[in-house]
């Protein structure tokens, strides 16, 4: 087989390491009763090895491999790094959490690894079928992880809800893919791009239907508004480290596939589908923010805030353009920044959460947190400022790049709606800060301490500050990261214009 050389194996190494890690932890789950510090150490080490392979692959922009199923270009590797950072964060956050809730099993790590591998397939997919494969591998493991608190009613409800809705969403996706296959004669991204631009498919109503179905399925995965109903319940019911994983990694990987699919395949017919995305973006931002205003539970509030942020990222999808990579690069930057600030916020939440049978995290649980636990409170305050988009945090710059890209492409109204939405979101983010610093502490509400979780909040804090204003040096600053995104997008565009 000429298509399968040692070079291909080398390019697949990040995925192979994740697969081996997943299988290994599955066996560990079968052999041992509970996962000790040794297993956690192994989990972190495996992720670091994966990261090492990713860094080794960076720079050599390779073409599609495995008969055009996957492509390990810089775009894929960038998102792979984001996803692995999220997985690292999840495992660190889960350190104390799993013990506290009696969930300490090897299977937890196994499922995180399988899911991360699925995301790896998703971000490097170069064929509609491998997108499907990636989504399913990612989601099936997530369903199990959501139900990991298996004696807890809410956890089970969340998993079932997510599973059934996810099955529907993927059915819509497959229907869309079958229509695309019928129109273009191929599921390969390159072949679709050629067919779309040469055969003037944009005039066919069936083509629009196919794109609509695919947008629906992708919209479900990134929790965009008409498809967002599952988000608050699932985010609330899932164990907090997994909520963090869903809000960051799943979203980043889904947006990666969304972006690559539309950037390589459907740009020739942008006029036809951009209207759909504009409506979705406006709805997602507005409804996400408005409903978040009235949430009392911190986890639910963050769930609606993650919906709103999906809306901001969709503004970038609207502003996509072949001539200018500004919008696409803003999306990539935003996903990275969003991953850090959300991960940090959920790390703090995991320290506050009480046992499963008590539904904690209502207003009183974090009142006075800033005085009781100065460091954790400070971190949470910075994450809230960043999520609201206040300078000099990275959240502000993410929004700035996103909206300025939209203005450049002439979508001024959309950018104005986005800015107004950010203003609305200030209210509920700052309410948390106010409650942490100005309300009386409820002595009955315990907070837990865990060094690994505190480490995550520290790293996220530094990242949120550094990614906004940090100069490029030994640690990559804003400019370096934007350069990386531009380089990866240049690779994507070069392939699609061939």
């Amino acid at each position: 087989m000429p298509a399968f050389t040692i070079d291909v194996v080398y390019q697949l190494m990040p995925l192979v390491v994740l697969l081996v890690g997943g299988l290994g932890f599955m066996l560990a789950g079968a052999m041992t009763r509970s996962a000790g510090p040794l297993q956690r150490g192994f989990a972190l080490a495996t992720l670091f090895v994966t990261l090492l392979y990713v860094f080794k692959l960076w720079g050599a922009d390779a073409g599609p491999i495995l008969h055009g199923m996957l492509i390990m270009d810089r775009f894929a590797l960038f998102f792979l790094v984001v996803v692995i950072i999220c997985a690292l964060g999840t495992i660190l956050i889960s350190n104390g959490y799993l013990d506290r809730f009696g969930l300490n099993r090897g299977e937890f790590f196994s499922m995180v690894f399988f899911s991360t591998m699925g995301m790896g397939v998703l971000v490097s997919a170069y064929d509609l079928i491998s997108v499907f494969l990636g989504i399913e591998l990612m989601s099936l493991a997530i369903y199990v992880l959501v139900a990991f608190r298996r004696r807890d009613f809410f956890s089970n409800e969340a998993a079932l809800k997510y599973f059934i809705m996810g099955a529907f969403a993927i059915a819509f996706y497959l229907f869309g893919v079958s229509l695309i296959y019928g129109l273009c004669g191929s599921t390969n991204f390159e072949a679709i791009a050629v067919a779309v631009s040469e055969r003037n498919l944009a005039q066919q109503p069936v083509f629009l239907l196919a794109i609509g179905l695919i947008i629906g399925a992708m919209g479900f995965k990134v929790s965009s508004v008409p498809f967002h109903m599952w988000t608050p319940d699932v985010y609330q019911g899932a164990p907090t480290p997994i909520t963090s994983f869903m809000a960051t990694a799943v979203k980043a990987a889904s947006f990666a596939a969304f972006l690559r699919l539309f950037y390589t395949c459907f740009m020739a017919s942008k006029d036809q589908w951009v209207g759909i995305i504009i409506v979705l973006a406006i709805l997602t931002m507005t409804i996400g923010n408005l409903v978040a205003l009235v949430q009392r539970n911190l986890k639910r509030m963050l769930a609606y805030s993650s919906i709103a942020h999906a809306g901001y990222i969709m503004v970038g999808l609207v502003a996509l353009s072949v001539d200018d990579t500004k919008a696409a690069s803003a999306i990539m930057y935003y996903t990275l920044v969003y991953a850090f600030m959300t991960m940090g916020a959920f790390a703090v939440v995991s320290l506050l959460e009480r046992r499963a049978d008590e539904r904690g995290l209502e207003g009183g649980d974090y009142a006075g947190l800033g005085l009781r636990r100065p460091f954790v409170g400070l971190c949470m305050a910075v994450f809230m400022f960043s999520l609201a988009g206040i300078p000099p945090t990275a959240g502000f710059f993410g929004k700035y790049y996103m909206f300025s890209a939209a203005v450049d492409q002439g979508y001024v109204t959309l950018a104005v709606i986005g800015v107004l939405n950010s203003a609305v979101s200030l209210y509920y983010y700052l309410r948390v800060v106010v409650s942490m610093y100005m309300q009386k502490s409820d002595e009955a509400a315990p907070t837990y301490d865990d060094y690994a979780t505190r480490f995550v909040t520290l790293v996220a804090l530094l990242a949120v500050l550094w990614l906004g204003i940090g100069p490029s040096g030994w640690v990559p600053g804003v400019e370096t990261i934007l350069d990386w995104t531009r380089a990866s997008l240049a690779g994507v565009l070069e392939l699609s214009s061939r």
């Binding site: 087989m1 399968f4 299988l23 599955m26 066996l27 789950g29 079968a30 052999m31």
Partner: protein, 120 residues
């Protein structure tokens, strides 16, 4: 319209398939005598009087067996075309298949270790 011409026979068949049973059911409903009785309103179970509720609970163990069966059924579906094309695929196909089987075997080992194969 060429589309309508090409598929007109199909549309006709569809319309016919819809019309015939509708007309038959409608005619039977209009012309037939109706004398409902307690005997007649029973659900039909091959002529035997119904016994008990059909929604009975049964052991969750069956689900487990069905799940394991499904996995190995799918495995057969993958192995069969590979066996047919064994010579063409050569050593590459063999290695690919071995990896696939190894992963499945690990899964079986996991299920075994967890006691999924024990009935009691």
């Amino acid at each position: 319209m060429p589309l309508a011409e090409k598929y007109s026979s199909l549309f006709f068949l569809f319309a016919l398939a819809l019309a015939v049973p509708t007309i038959m059911v409608f005619l039977a409903w209009v012309t037939g005598p109706r004398r409902p009785g307690s005997e007649k309103s029973l659900p039909f179970e091959c002529g035997v009087d119904p016994t008990g509720n059909p929604r009975r609970r049964f052991g969750v163990k069956f689900f487990l067996v069905a799940l394991l069966f499904l996995i190995f059924d799918v495995e057969t579906i993958f192995i069969f075309p590979w066996a047919v094309l064994f010579r063409e695929l050569g050593i590459f196909g063999f290695i690919e298949m071995s990896i696939f089987l190894m992963i499945l075997l690990l899964g079986l080992f996991y299920a075994w270790k967890k006691g999924a194969l024990e009935w009691e």
